[in-house]
């Protein structure tokens, strides 16, 4: 009889360990594993995948009715919303500075600073703040956010080729983590990580965002680029070994499957269930490819994905 000997995969590298939260806040540490996702028999996985909930600084105008129903009135006040999110199990809050976008209200430095302050005092979990994605605007508001959160080790994005200098400078000055985002490409992700570290940002102050494609909308590309990044990192390339953050909620809930209530084929089934499953499937798939921090929107997904993570940690 053939005897089964499990071939172990021993990697030379490991994912950098990154800790969010400091200065009296709760902390969340991600990364640190020296194996592919959840393969405990191959190596060690010191930290589990963390789950954050996204909130916005203004009541969302374009969110799926399924989400708005789940959250109710709290979306009108970011601080109340953040507290509720922590009750629902958020280990970190992602604050989306939606109102600062030139097309969404174009609020400025004062508003960005005020809402950051507000969330920091409302909850004690780590904070992630995402700007508008418009480089010039982000260069204006993100330094204010950083200053407001000095010493509390928040994570700040978007950090792209066009604005990385500003983000890196404020992260170094105020002790924060930068979130470089690159468009579904291993080399571009690495290149941006090089720019950040060359500019002096410590390697354990980076959470990389490889761009999330939702289920049915580019998931397979994100999945494979993440697997490749992870394998390169474990293979010893320190500049691809950053922990990965996926903004799953944002991409999953903008799709028709999660958003549209009427005029759909019967074969799509119940809208609420479908939307939640859409988010959960995107999360579980990307977790298999190496996600270290998933950002979600629906309370039910937070509970179910959180439970799945606990089970995957064995």
């Amino acid at each position: 009889m053939p005897s089964v000997e499990i071939p172990l995969e021993k990697w030379t590298g490991q994912v950098h360990q990154v800790t969010l939260g400091a200065g009296g806040r709760k902390t969340v540490t991600v990364g640190g594993e020296n194996t592919l996702p959840y393969l405990h028999f191959d190596g060690t996985i010191p930290n589990k995948t963390a789950v954050a909930i996204e909130i916005q600084d203004i009541a969302p105008a374009d969110w799926s009715p399924t989400l708005l129903k789940a959250w109710g009135d709290v979306v009108n006040d970011p601080a109340t919303w953040a507290k509720k999110a922590v009750e629902y199990g958020a280990e970190a809050i992602l604050l989306n500075l939606k109102s600062a976008h030139p097309d969404e209200g174009n609020t400025g430095i004062a508003e960005a600073k005020a809402v950051t302050d507000k969330i920091l005092s409302a909850v004690d979990v780590p904070l992630i703040v995402i700007g508008t994605g418009v480089a010039d605007k982000d260069n204006e508001i993100l330094p204010a956010v950083s200053e407001a959160a000095r010493g509390q080790r928040i994570a700040i994005g978007n950090c792209e080729e066009k604005n990385y200098r500003t983000v890196v400078a404020v992260c170094i000055a105020d002790g924060h983590i930068a979130i470089p985002s690159s468009p579904v490409d291993l080399n571009l992700a690495k290149q941006l990580n090089i720019l950040l570290t060359d500019a002096g940002l410590p390697i354990d102050a980076i959470l990389m965002d490889p761009t999330t494609g939702a289920l049915g909308y580019g998931l397979e590309y994100t999945y494979s680029v993440m697997e490749r990044l992870r394998m390169a990192g474990l293979g010893g390339d320190k500049l691809t070994a950053m922990p990965i953050i996926n903004n799953v909620g944002e991409d999953a809930w903008k799709q028709k499957e999660a958003k549209v209530a009427q005029g759909l084929p019967e074969s799509w089934g119940d809208m609420e269930t479908r939307g939640i499953i859409w988010e959960e499937q995107t999360a579980i798939s990307l977790m298999q490819a190496g996600s270290n921090l998933v950002v979600l929107r629906h309370p039910q997904s937070v509970a179910k994905v959180g439970a799945a993570i606990t089970k995957l940690m064995g």
Binding site: M1, P2, S3, V4, I6, P7, E9, Y38, L39, H40, F41, P183, L215, G216, Y217, G218, L219, E220, Y221, Y223, S224, E227, R228, M231, K254, K256, E257, K259, V260, G263, P265, E266, S267, W268, G269, D270, M271, T273, R274, I276, I277, W278, E280, Q281, I284, S285, Q288, A289, Q300, S301, K304, V305, A307, A308, K311, L312, M313, G314
Partner: protein, 446 residues
């Protein structure tokens, strides 16, 4: 370890007679190493060489067929651990389990088997029904098998540990080549006999990989090689470990005794419907070949079928459309004209919305090498020049009575350039998301 071309070459006759269809023994050996041909193509390999080469010429995961006809399930033949290394080949079969203790079993089977949903022009459906002998009554089991066979056209799995019940069911549906589930250490001899007698694929269930390997070895020795394996893991962590180890042994070690498709039962390790769906989703990504679900609803089946479509898409070539002008809803010369790229997901997103908008339209599809709107734009493959060229190439100025074209909102920046390229045209910027095109047309198209 799989053999390299040079290692294989050592076992060949080295006469370069070309009968295998390759110019030299060496080139044949190279193809064999890539698993692109069969050892049997060379008539001159010695028996000794044959047995040495068996491991190298056999696909690392055996191709197994369950069922007959159009809706048979073909699984296995996978050659990589990670989809980016090449591609995953045979999409995991998604199957619903019904029990012979459930009065609604036939109705449930019928509903699931009749389910189908279209995505990017592909018709997706559930692949089979598993019938479980929960009642422990052989006659009931056989009857349900016969009823499900009559009511559906999908592949069947027969689930019973009782060989008499299995035999009774096989008498009714054996000709449809159902998967016999399962041979265990206790009943292996009898189950193997049944699989042989009815020429059906056989699942083996073992606690731990060694027990599974011993059972497959026993079956293979007895001549039953169309096997599917169940390592008896039901949770997240244990099933991920087992499925990864099985695939790794098969592919990296050419470990024949575990080189078979794997069957999983996510419902057994789940606490809720969401949980079952997530575990199934994990199994789609990580190495299950047949996934037996305990719950069916369209709202869950559709995402799972989509996940499977994503994971099993060939990473080398995006699914794409031919460039051209597509008529949607019988358009006339004065109907709406929209432009998009030829990534099929992009095409079907906007085409579907236009069809439902109540506005018959012409959809101009530019060749962007299968890239989505923003990706193509960022890669310089969807610009004003290209759109203008397509407008002319497909003779739109001749066939239309107007000169108005709607751009995807995501590439609003192209408006100015396109006005330069098509000076007598009116360039409209549509919404970013396809789902908003209907209301956009209501407000902006007269």
């Amino acid at each position: 370890m799989a053999l390299t071309g040079v290692q294989i070459y050592k076992f060949l006759p080295k006469t370069n007679c070309k009968e295998c269809g390759f110019p030299t023994c060496l080139s044949f050996a190279m193809k064999l190493a890539q698993r692109a041909t069969e050892l049997g193509a060379c008539p001159y390999v010695s028996d000794e060489a044959k047995s040495n080469l068996e491991a190298a010429s056999r696909p690392p995961v055996r191709l197994v067929t369950v069922g007959v006809g159009e809706k048979k399930i073909e699984v296995g033949n996978e050659v990589v651990l990670f989809r980016h290394e090449k591609t995953f080949v045979h999409p995991a079969g998604l199957v619903l389990r019904v029990k012979d203790s459930d009065a609604d079993a036939v109705a449930k089977a019928k509903e699931a088997a009749a389910y189908s949903v279209e995505r990017v022009g592909i018709n997706m459906y559930l692949d089979g029904i598993a019938i479980e002998n929960d009642s422990k009554d052989a006659a009931k089991f056989a009857k349900l098998a016969a009823d499900v066979k009559a009511a559906t056209d999908v592949a069947l799995i027969l689930m019973s540990s009782d060989t008499a019940a299995m035999k009774a069911a096989l008498e009714k549906v054996g000709e449809d080549k159902p998967l016999i589930y399962a041979a265990t250490a206790d009943n292996a001899d009898a189950m193997i006999e049944l699989a042989k007698k009815y020429s059906c694929p056989l699942a083996v269930y073992g606690n731990g990989l060694q027990e599974v390997a011993d059972l497959t070895e026993q079956a293979a020795k007895a001549g039953v090689e169309d096997l599917v394996i169940d390592p008896a893991t039901r949770g997240y962590a244990d099933s991920l470990d087992a499925l990864t180890q099985i695939r790794r042994l098969a592919i990296k070690k050419s470990f024949v005794a575990l080189g078979y498709p794997v069957i999983t039962f996510p419902g057994e390790g789940a606490e809720s419907i969401d949980d079952e769906a997530m575990l199934a989703g994990m199994h789609i990504a990580k190495y299950a070949s047949i996934i037996v679900l305990d719950n069916f609803s369209p709202a869950v089946a559709y995402p799972l079928l989509t996940a499977r479509l994503n994971i099993y898409t060939d990473p080398q070539k995006p699914i794409q459309m031919a460039a051209g002008v597509y008529p949607l809803g019988d358009p006339k010369a004065d109907s709406v004209l929209c432009v998009t790229t030829n990534f099929s997901l992009t095409y079907f997103s906007i085409a579907g919305e236009l069809e439902n908008s109540g506005y018959p339209s012409h959809l101009l599809v530019c060749d962007t090498e299968g890239l989505s709107v923003l990706t193509a734009w960022a890669a310089g493959k969807f610009d004003a020049e290209k759109i203008a060229k397509a407008v002319k190439e497909f003779k739109l100025p001749d066939t239309l009575s107007h000169k108005k074209i709607i751009l995807p909102g995501g590439v609003a920046v192209l408006k100015g350039d396109l006005e330069d390229e098509l000076p007598d045209w009116e360039i409209l910027v549509g919404p970013r998301e396809a789902m908003a095109i209907g209301s956009y047309l209501k407000q902006n198209w007269s």
